[in-house]
Symmetry: C2
Subunit: 588 residues, 2 copies
């Protein structure tokens, strides 16, 4: 694969990723972090001199690198990382150390056995002061023999839920000295005498996080659409139970309960696809502005991207398992592909920012915006609805009748729900403060409400973006079925959270009952298009890698073939018979 990348001249990280997906569909590999983190970090943060020294050898795999940030004791809370890099002006070197057990670098992919270099994130100390996290290039292993250098304790962290192809590693640094020139100095610098020079724009790192998160949101749609495609196709193949005596068994896709499991998830896959698109496009538009020095929209997108990352990955992590279980026992077999999809997707709830922390990050932005609105400030962007909450409109201007068949009306009601829960969280904090609790305790004692508020805010954004997207669809047939999906997504969210809508007086009891009835109609309406709506995601058989989800539907014959090729079937009598069963028998 790497030779082919060279041959075709593929160098753009996203193109590398797409190519890799064609060769090894969705299989993680030891060189992934080299490709996706080590090389791009060099490109973004290395000086021209460092590019010369590291990039070309890294491109030729003489240098194989990884990105070592997370430690045993700290992940999402970056300020807590303990690894130190202390500048020694006498030798113009940094001395890197893992001062505690919990400071051992833990989890970086390819670190254990593959890499001979790592970009190590460490607290920079110079002239007696700590300047926070900075990135350092550290040689780990002898370039010829691949033996770890003295003072470098490196290895694999052992078996995991998935990612078995990757040597996620640990790294303990014991007084490792690296030249001053190995600190990535495109932005921040340490002068030879140890003087620290601040980076010009502290907020630039924001951008990468937003980009990574938009990529995760898009990835969540990919994982979910694969799971839905498999489950829906198989549900059209599988026949089960007798509904009418003497008649053939129906396809399980005809059962309302099966439709209720799968179709809302199909709608969700489309919703998250559009959200991922929106985030990426907005990111690209904003980063255009950043180069012109316009940061205005960044905090909002940054805050939103944290919550949306959590909202989508949590939902999809559960949803993949719903799809798996909707396929009965066979979903548990690796021939279904579900076990792989799950163990590869579910870590995204934790990496790039643990989800609860992400939700609270979005909540921080919401609380700040709410206070600004309370102070009479006119908010811009998505949170502007908080102005209406704080300064209620005259009664006549407010929607009095919600039409549950009208998406615009549903977007409005989701918005009001979000506004209501943001207010509830803000009031909880205010009450705590009135009881003379500290800011920190008030925040912690309101954390459940804050997460709920973020969740409702994200939910509103997703429903809104899905609805907005419909305007771009000109084909009437596509527009019609996409509207049905959007409506199902919105109504399903209402039944699942009906308490919120009833509590805030946004919907009446008859409307909630009507919602359940309407959902059943939408399920029946989607039934004829369900398989095609999965197909539309265009996951080919090689990429799906699922016997259950085969395009041609020949599931049972191929499941039998797949099983027969299991390594355990290489011999009719397995060695365990001679090794264990026979000797045991003779002792009884």
């Amino acid at each position: 694969m790497i030779l082919k990348l060279r041959e075709y001249g593929i160098t753009d990280p996203e193109e590398i990723n797409l190519f890799k997906h064609c060769v090894h569909p969705d299989r993680p590999e030891p060189l992934d972090l080299h490709m996706a983190m080590f090389l791009p970090t060099l490109r973004n943060q290395a000086t021209p001199e460092q590019m010369d020294r590291f990039y070309t050898p890294a491109w030729n795999l003489e240098i194989i690198g990884t990105y070592a940030q997370t430690e045993m004791g700290h992940g999402t809370h970056l300020r807590g990382l303990e690894t130190t890099a202390t500048y020694d002006p006498a030798t113009q070197e940094f001395v890197l150390n893992s001062p505690t057990i919990s400071s051992i670098k833990w989890w970086p992919g390819g670190l254990g056995k593959t890499s001979n270099h790592a970009i190590v994130l460490a607290q920079l100390y110079t002239q007696g002061n700590c300047h926070g996290l900075h990135a350092f290039i550290v040689l780990l292993r002898d370039m010829k023999t691949h033996i770890p250098l003295p003072g470098v304790v490196v290895g694999d962290i052992g078996p995991k839920f998935g990612f078995n192809e990757v040597d996620n590693g640990y790294l303990k640094l014991e007084n490792i000295r690296i030249p001053r020139e190995n600190m990535l100095m495109k932005f921040a610098k340490v002068e030879p005498d140890g003087t620290y020079v601040k980076p010009p724009r502290a907020k630039l790192t924001y951008g990468t996080m937003v980009f990574m998160r938009s990529w995760i949101v898009g990835g969540s749609s990919q994982a979910l659409s694969r799971a839905c495609t498999i489950a829906i196709r198989y549900s059209a193949v599988r026949h089960q139970s007798e509904t009418r005596p003497g008649e053939p068994e129906p396809q399980i896709l005809d059962y309302q309960t099966q439709q209720y499991k799968l179709f809302p998830l199909l709608a969700m896959a489309y919703a998250f696809h559009f959200v991922g698109q929106y985030m990426k496009q907005t990111y690209l538009r904003i980063t255009g502005d950043i180069t012109k020095g316009d940061f205005d929209e960044l905090p909002e997108l940054h805050a939103l991207s944290a919550g949306l990352k959590a909202f989508t990955t949590w939902a999809v992590s559960s949803a993949v398992e719903v799809c798996r279980m909707a396929c009965g026992g066979h979903g548990y077999s690796c021939s279904s592909a579900f076990p792989d999809i799950y163990v590869r997707f579910t870590p995204s709830c934790t990496y790039e920012g643990e989800n609860t922390v992400m939700m609270l990050q979005t909540a921080r932005h919401l609380m700040k915006s709410y206070r600004q609105a309370e102070a009479g400030q006119q908010l811009s962007g998505i949170v502007s609805y908080l102005n209406d909450k704080v300064q209620p409109q005259p009664v006549t201007a407010r929607p009095t009748v919600v039409d549950i068949n009208d998406l615009a009306s549903l977007v409005e009601v989701y918005k009001l729900r979000a506004a209501n829960l943001v207010e509830l969280a803000a009031k909880s904090i205010q009450q705590e403060l009135q009881h003379r609790r500290s800011q920190e305790d008030a925040w912690n004692n309101s954390a459940i409400d804050l997460v709920r508020a973020s969740d409702a805010h994200c939910h509103y954004v997703v429903v809104k973006l899905f609805t907005d997207k419909l305007r771009d669809i000109s084909d009437t047939g596509v527009h019609s079925v996409m509207s049905t999906l959007a409506l199902l997504y919105a109504l399903q969210g209402i039944t699942k959270n009906s308490g919120d809508f009833l509590q805030a007086g946004l919907l009446s009891v008859p409307q909630v009952l009507q919602t359940s009835v309407r959902i059943k109609e939408l399920l029946a309406q989607l039934r004829p298009d369900a398989v095609a709506l999965g197909d539309a995601f265009d996951h080919n058989d090689k990429k799906l890698n699922s016997v259950l989800g085969r395009y041609d539907g020949n599931v049972y014959e191929n499941m039998f073939e797949w099983a027969r090729s299991s390594p355990l079937n290489a011999t009719e009598v397995h060695e365990s018979f001679h090794k264990y069963l026979k000797p045991l028998r003779s002792k009884l």
Copy 2:
């Protein structure tokens, strides 16, 4: 282990299971089905002559057997199984066949490589009539060489999500002839001339199912309490984030969001433990009655056990993953034990009756009871609340004020919610029938409502049984903390389903808001006891097998030790360097 079982004279299946758990904590094995299904089925369904012929050699592992029921094309819907056993009076033999690909036996544990016999469930044909499923003992492999017999196509079904230690197998039978005496004939019989003799009591199989399900409910508490113990202990060890500048990082167990994830699950583990106990006790009491010919209570327990099996396994399957993710990245490592707990537990949502089918089975009982109540019949047992629903009490007799701090009051409100949702489902069916739909379509078009009704019924039963259990606790300290857990379990269920309670007018909006506030208080109240409440389940370190969940709390040191012993770390330079990386480099 097997030699020790002999030495100690352990023969009771439950005792065998407990002993096995001490030796290999929670590890499935190829002989599991031999022990847990083959031997007990012989004991229950074999004639004395068959016992002589099969049981003793099976006990001595000359015969190794499994229980082959599920086929590729059919699982829960037993009547759909396709394997045939046709009696041939000329030779006094049964001829067994797998007539289609989908009829191949699929999934039985130990079938692929280990067993030389199987109890095969097949449709019995004799004298031109089909008499439904019966059990036959089939020799699969040569007793000496272990080579499959001609016409027996047997092997392993390939890798799965878990249960890697077990050779789950397939079995295709091609005109396999077995003597008439190999049909298990303790109940039903086929005479030498082919005359079929019915079993005396068709409902006896009910009992085993109820027992298995009560065992699964108890098992769900075991799995969940292990997950909770690990997550709560680790949350006391892990410190993260800075809440107050300059102060040490708090234990993550002090975060409200973490408590909100874990404490309701801890309460759930206790709730399900008591439910499992109740089911087992009731089963034993009722089976006492069965031998006296009193079947009255069996349908209710049978219907309830189906729903409770689904209710508890779904809840725990999700909950284990919540516990895993509550431990951040380290939860994903096998050192946490979470991956193992999950892949071993989650199949219980599918086996012994697929959960949605189970919920609909309970719903069938509820609908029947509702119609009986409508017809003026006085119901007995748990469903008797439907009488009140159908024949409303005078207003003065109904509770007007719900006290959310009073468990008796909450049991009542859960009961009314269940009654309401049962009524909603019954009315949906009635409406469908009024629209001239067939019984079958009316049922299917109401299936979502039926599952909701079952779920609410089970939820009521769980809250009720937990509350009832408190009466048995005399120690005031234990009583107090158990009451707090029961209250948390009940209130958490209300906030998660607040729409149901608001919709039915059972709770007011202020009460729902008050519930959320009360939950926060209960979390804070449980915080000091949380670790001890996990400890109380008495999972020792060997059984937990979790570095994160160690009793002594020395997580980080031991995680490092655990990682260092990973097979990949046997050499400093892994063979992949010489085999792949070096040659690749030379080509670039």
